[in-house]
């Protein structure tokens, strides 16, 4: 089928829609969970209101990162000027895959950071005296959970900026090969970050809550959190490796 600019624009619109809609659903859940836990903690411990309010805002901001990444990619897809007709099916696949990668890639990290922030608010409500220790642990944990959404952002940006134009001499078979490998790169990192993001968020949430309950054990808890988060991150790195191979090792 002869490619026209309109067909490439279809991919841009679809990618932008997938990316921002999925990310806004999950950001809403994550941010709302934090606000819910903070409100409940304020009810139990009204004197800790200031610390809870501060913690809620900071954790909501970090949780929103995944949503902002998706918004950036959607705006790039719509207004970045990638929809040139010389790009051919390569550009079509790259734009669809970029939207898929960051849209699905932000689900896990956002839900994970939301859980962490909620548990930290709960812990501060129980032990307002240790709010700084809990906030520090929460920020480290949320940063670890957001790492995998940064992997997805990197792949989405590489898909947009490093996909070559479709050569005029390319045979039909080569075009199918490259198109599907670009799509597969987006699917691999998009789905692959879901598990690690959620898992690391769970680790960090439990660690924050337990620092609130047993502050004396903080070094032990944080060590276990780092160890567990690092192991949990490994599958996201496998997905990143497969995406890089699909992007750059296929001609």
């Amino acid at each position: 089928m002869e490619i026209t600019r309109e067909i490439i624009q279809i991919a841009a619109y679809l990618g932008a829609g997938i990316s921002v809609s999925i990310a806004s659903v999950t950001s809403g859940i994550g941010v709302g969970y934090i606000a819910g836990e903070a409100s409940f903690a304020m009810m139990r411990q009204p004197r800790a209101g200031d610390q809870l309010f501060r913690n809620m805002f900071i954790s909501q901001a970090v949780t929103e990162t995944g949503g902002i990444f998706s918004l950036v990619i959607s705006l790039l897809l719509l207004f970045g000027g990638f929809d040139v007709v010389e790009g051919g099916w390569y550009r079509f696949a790259a734009m669809l895959a970029a939207g898929f990668a960051i849209g699905f890639g932000s689900i896990g990290p956002v839900l994970g950071s939301g859980y962490t922030g909620g548990q930290a608010c709960k812990a501060i409500g129980r032990m307002p005296k240790f709010s700084n220790a809990i906030l520090g642990n929460m920020l480290i944990g949320q940063a670890l959970a957001q790492t995998s959404s940064i992997f997805a952002l990197v792949i989405a940006l590489l898909l947009l900026y490093s996909t070559p134009l479709q050569p005029a001499s390319a045979s039909w078979g080569q075009v199918i090969l490259k198109t599907l490998s670009l799509l597969a790169a987006g699917i691999s990192i998009g789905l692959g970050t879901m598990g690690p993001g959620t898992g690391i968020g769970y680790v960090a949430g439990r660690a924050s809550e337990m620092i609130g309950r047993h502050p004396a054990e903080r070094p032990n808890i944080m060590r276990t959190m780092f160890l567990g988060a690092a192991v949990s991150e490994s599958t996201a790195i496998y997905s990143l490796v497969i995406s890089f191979l699909l992007l750059f090792a296929i001609h």
Binding site: L183, L191, T198, G199, Y202, T235, Y238, L246
Partner: protein, 78 residues
Amino acid sequence: MEYIARAAALLGAGICMGIGALGPGVGEGFVAGKACEGIARSPENASLITRTMLVGQAVSESTGIYSLVVALLLIFST
């Protein structure tokens, strides 16, 4: 025709690693979260809990490594 088979193998590699990374990530995170809780509650058993956590995570990781191996085979040996 061979191009189409190879393209399908590449798409399969992406789906394989993407979905295959879901389970181990969640599972390992759950293990580590519960280990944090256990260490906080009974710190005297910290080394035992850490050891159990690592063994459990290693077993849970195995399916992620299977996905990686299958994805690499699909990319390089078809």
